[in-house]
């Protein structure tokens, strides 16, 4: 119990600490320390004088307690170099202070202030499919038929194994649940999509597609998780030409809609889906089509119409070497445009306000073209976050800001091969390299308290 002048004494693993009730209040009632000091566990009122000697014994590591107590006092985390992070995290979990530790680790995401904090080597041999950032700072990496899951402490959890089905895309519903879309194997009736637990790797739910009230097996491609209305979108290919975009409810897991592929718009093969909250429609980009042309469109599910579309049909007649080919696309709602990138890492913009506009290319390649001739390169990828545009090329990621998209930062690590995928989430950026199966973790340092 609080002694005179609110001082509290602890004996942690034999070492004495003294602090104040005010400092401990920062731990919150729902922490071990909060409960320890709560009235219900300290029924007797201390008699004056006697209380000074009362101390709380805790059978834990004193060095870690010192670090955590310092965190409660100052709000900053300073870990001595000889203390393993794992150890500190374990102790923080014991005291129920893990959230405070996490909050003190890194600050709000800013593409121009990123620091490389870790590079994690995976077990799989290179050639990752995708990396996705989780909402709490964790991530998952898809390799073939496996998905490796890491929590925010970058501890690897039990991997999710899909019994030799090729994983096409992954996404987080929340920190605890991961959606995986997989390719159907001929004659097996498997594939499709499922929700898996990120901590145990167990299958929680399988998403079904039914056509004419008949459940059919399908191959699920790109995923998009609408944040505002709790929906999941996926490009689907059924066995009997049931191509299109399926929609499920995140909470019930039931199929709520299906957008069948209209002629001239390949939806089932889409490489990128993005839900646009403002327009209440879905951007679909099919950039590596089987037969048709590249296609980017905005789908309105309310009346099943294609609001806006773009295609390279006209330009690909004479596909020469100089021809610029769109390899990835992302919609930027704020500037009412879609940003695309080509094989020379040029950025291009398509105006969403006019329906027949072409790509307005910016000639970045002339300025920054540093492609090594023999290096195996990956297709470039794009992402946006808080008005910043990110574009991967080779082994680096460029950050663009402002209305004119000026290059402001470049994130690069010198080994591991070129970046095959990257993802932003939980105030972190994860970049997956193609050759060494290693991913980099970038975060913004916590802002200094003055």
């Amino acid at each position: 119990m609080a002694s005179r002048r609110g001082r509290i004494r602890f004996n942690v693993g034999g070492k004495i600490f003294e602090t104040t009730a005010t400092t401990l209040a920062n731990a919150g009632r729902h922490s071990m320390l909060g409960a320890l000091l709560d009235d219900s566990w300290n029924p007797r009122q201390p008699v004056e004088g006697e209380a000074a000697d009362a101390e709380y014994f805790i059978d834990r590591n004193p060095a870690c307690f010192a670090v955590l107590l310092d965190l409660l006092r100052t709000g900053e985390l300073h870990v001595p170099p000889n203390m393993p992070e794992k150890l500190l995290n374990r102790e923080a979990l014991f005291y129920g202070l893990l959230d405070q530790v996490r909050a003190a680790r890194w600050g709000p995401f800013d593409g121009n202030r990123l620091q490389l904090v870790d590079s994690v080597s995976g077990r799989a041999p290179g050639d990752g499919t995708a990396i996705r950032a989780g909402p709490d700072g964790g991530c998952c990496v898809a390799h073939g038929s496996m998905v490796h899951v890491y929590d925010w402490m970058l501890e690897e959890h039990r991997p999710i194994s899909l019994d030799y089905q090729q994983v096409n895309d992954v996404g987080y519903i929340d920190a605890e649940s991961i959606v995986i879309s997989a390719r159907e194997r001929l004659g097996k009736g498997d594939g499709g999509m499922g929700v898996f637990s990120s901590s145990t790797g167990e299958l929680r739910h399988r998403f079904r597609v039914s056509h004419d009230n008949q459940v059919k097996s399908f191959t699920a491609g790109a995923l998009s998780l609408g944040s505002s209305d709790y929906k999941i979108f996926a490009s689907c290919k059924g066995r009997c030409n049931e191509y299109g975009i399926g929609v499920w409810d995140q909470i019930t897991g039931q199929q709520v809609d299906f957008f069948y592929e209209p002629p001239g718009c390949s939806l089932g093969d889409a490489d990128k889906l993005q839900w646009l909250d403002g327009d209440k429609c879905l951007m679909v980009a099919t950039l590596f089509p089987r037969t048709d042309n590249c296609f980017i469109g905005l789908l309105d599910f309310r009346d099943k119409s294609v609001n806006w579309s773009w295609s390279d049909a006209g330009t690909s007649v004479s596909l020469s070497l100089d021809e610029k080919r769109v390899l990835h696309a992302i919609a930027i709602e704020d500037s009412r445009s879609i940003c695309v990138v080509n094989q020379y890492d040029d950025l291009g913009f398509i105006d969403l306000r006019s329906n027949a506009g072409g790509v307005r290319w910016s000639s970045r390649s002339k300025l920054t073209n540093r492609k090594a001739p023999n290096e195996e390169s990956c297709y470039p990828k794009l992402a946006t976050h808080n008005g910043q545009l990110f574009s991967s090329m080779n082994d680096g990621i460029s950050v663009f800001c402002g209305p004119e998209w000026v290059l402001t930062s470049t994130l690069r690590r010198s080994y591991g091969g070129s970046i095959c995928d990257f993802s932003i989430g939980g105030d972190r950026l994860f970049a997956l390299h193609s050759e060494e199966n290693v991913f980099d973790v970038w975060e913004t340092p916590p802002s200094l308290t003055i």
Partner: protein, 733 residues
């Protein structure tokens, strides 16, 4: 430890440690189970939180989370079953008390158990999709206590009984009620709703259904509404004291439905106390209550509004068609204004200034004012009355108030042009006779008409004012230039009126006396000398004169008479007796006017300066008139009015009507031409609608007349019928 030795057998290490102490989990669980027992037995003071927390932590760490969790469920269930037995055993009223005490204990225990098992709550529970400890504790309480067969119905019955007792006037322990309902809410909104709210609403519905049936049989409308309002407030208060806030809407809608919606028609139409009698007796408080209660139910306000509207229309119709009222236009309009005031006040005081009610009021007035086609005339007469004398000594603000009210009635008129006609006549009379109380008031009225109907409406009225002003200047000019030549003759005051601005009746000029003719000629020469190219016509029917007269015993009086009367009286300067025919010959006054003049000179008691043979009320053509030298009056000045109905006589009315109709023709034609000029081709029905909407601010044109005007325009080749479609008209530029 021995694990150290076996370190190199990495694969075995995990298994081995478990084997080392097979009773570890069981032993640790015993410690925790004991602690839970102690907590439930209020004996927690001997427990060490740190030790218990550490034990629970270790169990989870060593993968005994499942055992810990299921152990918790079993232990807690055991305790709750015991608690259920002790609650079941409680007698009568102590049942709720016991439930409340045990609920408090359980919550406290749950809090402490949660503290101990905090680590499990954080790690094991989410990753294994279990229910968190706190929620688990509530669920177990719900399943073992609230949903136990011996408690569930008893609890509900007691709660409903207590509420029933409170409704019938008993005092109950509201604090206890609040705790119990709070418990049900804490267990989840579905528990509160299913186990309490639904039955509560059902019981309430039947309670109020019975009560409202009883009340409506024995109470009048006002009293019933008072009781309903009190019940409503009681329920709202009940919710605030011990029910969930969300229940308020539900229970009030039950009361509203049972007590108001179900009896709405009967209440409104209740004999001697329903809405109509409330309106008649200005029962603001009751009306306000009715408004506020009825507002809560669907169609409530429209019910009130409909009844009010039909009542208003009925009484209004009676008012405007009552032959008694029609005799006195001023009184008639005053009644309308009073009626309007009355309802304005009701709407303001009782109906919350509700816009829809105001609209209903306006439409009702518009409906019945226009039922009587003399309304425009009467309203103008009312203004005339007010501006002549009614507003003498009244402050400027009050004058404005009266005028504003008149304007309000004016707005209801559909035939505003008729009003304009009459207003012009009345204004002319006021101006020429100098009877207007105040120029400012007159002008203020004109401004109001102007803002309401626009410049065109009032331009002629304003012209009349200008004429009056220039006339004063002209007269000054006349007298200052000719003062010496005039000498001692009669004084002339001329008002030069612009033709067109004034409502002049073409009257046959009468023969003026020679004295007057002289000065009139002088004025004519003076005026035409300054204003060339104008023509002056004397309007002898509109003038007045002051003449001095000496009677038999030498008494002198000043007589205030009209021009015609002056002409007649001047004849008696030379003789004492004249016959009707002689007067008619000498003056050449039109017979109808002459008769009226003679009537006022000879037949009005106290003002009979002439004597008629034979004595009778009416003037016949062979009557003779004598100078009455026995004339007596207390006053020096005697005003001899003209016997003339203020109200128009039937033929005059017809005439005014006809003139209005004539005036409308060019207006309708102008509107048609304006519309066709911009639209070029239009069908008949559209023209009619457009014309009606354009002219609405002045009058409601009759479609038949519009059709006639169109035909006339076709004749004059402004329009033509389309050759293919006869319904279409084409504009011919």
């Amino acid at each position: 430890m021995s694990a150290q030795k076996k370190r190199n057998f990495k694969i075995e290490a995990f298994k081995h440690r478990v084997e080392l102490d097979p009773n570890y989990a069981e032993r640790t669980w015993r410690v925790l189970e004991h602690a839970i027992h102690e907590i439930y037995n209020h004996n927690a003071s001997g427990l060490s939180f740190e030790e218990l927390y550490r034990n629970a932590y270790n169990m989870v760490l060593h993968k005994y989370g499942e055992k810990l969790y299921s152990g918790l469920v079993n232990t807690m269930t055991g305790h709750l079953k015991e608690i259920a037995r002790s609650i079941e055993a409680a007698q009568g009223g102590f049942f709720l008390e016991e439930l409340n005490v045990k609920w408090g204990d359980h919550n406290k225990a749950l809090q402490m158990i949660r503290d101990i098992l905090m680590y499990m709550d954080r790690t094991f529970v989410p990753s294994n999709h279990k229910t968190p400890v706190h929620e688990l504790g509530l669920n177990l309480w719900r399943d073992n206590i609230i949903h136990s067969s011996k408690i569930q119905t008893r609890l509900l019955d007691m709660l409903l009984d207590l509420i029933h007792r409170e409704r019938t006037g008993e005092v109950i322990n509201r604090g206890l009620m609040r705790n119990i309902t709070k418990m049900l809410m804490d267990l989840g909104s579905s528990v509160y709703q299913e186990d309490f709210e639904k039955p509560f609403l059902g019981v309430s519905a039947s309670f109020y259904s019975v009560e409202s049936q009883q009340l409506i049989e024995c109470c009048d409308c006002g009293e019933y509404l008072r009781k309903a309002e009190r019940r409503l407030n009681e329920e709202i208060e009940r919710v605030s004291h011990y029910l969930d806030v969300k229940s308020e809407v539900k229970i009030t809608s039950v009361v509203e439905g049972e007590m108001i919606a179900n009896h709405m028609q009967r209440l409104v139409h209740m004999e001697n106390s329903g809405l109509v009698s409330m309106l008649v007796d200005d029962k603001y408080e009751d009306l306000s209550r009715m408004y506020n209660l009825f507002r809560r139910v669907p169609d409530g306000l429209s019910t009130i509004k409909d009844v009010m509207t039909s009542h208003l229309r009925e009484t209004g119709k009676q008012l405007v068609s009552d032959p008694e009222k029609l005799k006195d236009p001023v009184d008639f309009v005053q009644h309308l204004l009073d009626e309007k005031d009355k309802y304005d006040k009701i709407i303001r005081k009782a109906f919350n200034n509700d816009k829809t009610f105001q609209n209903a009021l306006n439409s009702s007035f518009e409906y019945f004012i226009n039922l009587n086609n003399r309304s425009p005339e009467f309203i103008s007469l009312y203004v005339d009355d007010k501006l002549r004398k009614g507003l003498k000594g009244v402050s400027e603000e009050d004058v404005e108030v009266v005028l504003d009210k008149v304007m309000m009635l004016f707005r209801y008129l559909q035939e505003k042009d008729v009003f304009e006609k009459y207003y012009k006549q009345h204004l002319a009379k006021r101006l020429l006779s100098g009877k207007s109380v105040s120029d400012d008031t007159e002008r203020s009225m004109i401004v109001k008409l102007k803002t309401e109907c626009g410049y065109q409406f009032t331009s002629k009225l304003e012209g009349m004012f200008t004429d009056m002003k220039t006339s004063i200047d002209t007269m000054q000019g006349f007298y200052s230039s000719q003062y010496s030549e005039i000498g001692d003759g009669p004084t002339l005051a001329v008002q030069v009126l612009t033709t067109g601005s004034w409502p002049t009746q073409p009257s046959a000029p009468c023969n003026l006396p020679a004295e007057i003719l002289v000065i009139c000629e002088k004025f004519r020469t003076f005026y035409l000398g300054t204003h060339t190219g104008r023509r002056l016509t004397w309007q002898t029917n509109m003038g007045t004169a002051d003449i001095k007269a000496t009677f038999g015993k030498g008494q002198k009086h000043e007589l205030n008479v009209s021009t015609y009367q002056m002409c007649i009286l001047m004849l008696y300067n030379s003789t004492d007796q004249l016959t009707y025919r002689e007067i008619e010959q000498a003056t050449e006054i039109a017979p109808s006017d002459l008769k009226r003049c003679l009537q006022s000179l000879a037949c009005v008691k106290g003002k009979n300066v002439l004597r008629k043979e034979p004595m009778s009320k009416d003037i016949a053509e062979d009557d003779a008139f004598y100078f009455n030298d026995k004339f007596m009056s207390k006053f020096f000045k005697v005003k001899i009015g003209t016997v003339a109905a203020q109200k128009e006589s039937e033929p005059e009315k017809q005439e005014t009507r006809q003139r209005v109709e004539e005036d409308r023709k060019p207006q309708i034609e102008a509107a048609i031409v304006r519309i066709m000029k911009s639209r070029r081709v239009l069908d008949h029905n559209t023209i009619v609608t457009e014309v009606t909407s354009q002219l609405q601010s002045r009058f409601l044109p009759n479609p038949v007349i519009i059709k006639k005007r169109i035909e006339s325009l076709i004749e004059r080749e402004f329009l033509e019928r389309d050759k293919a479609d006869r319904k279409l008209y084409r504009y011919l530029a």
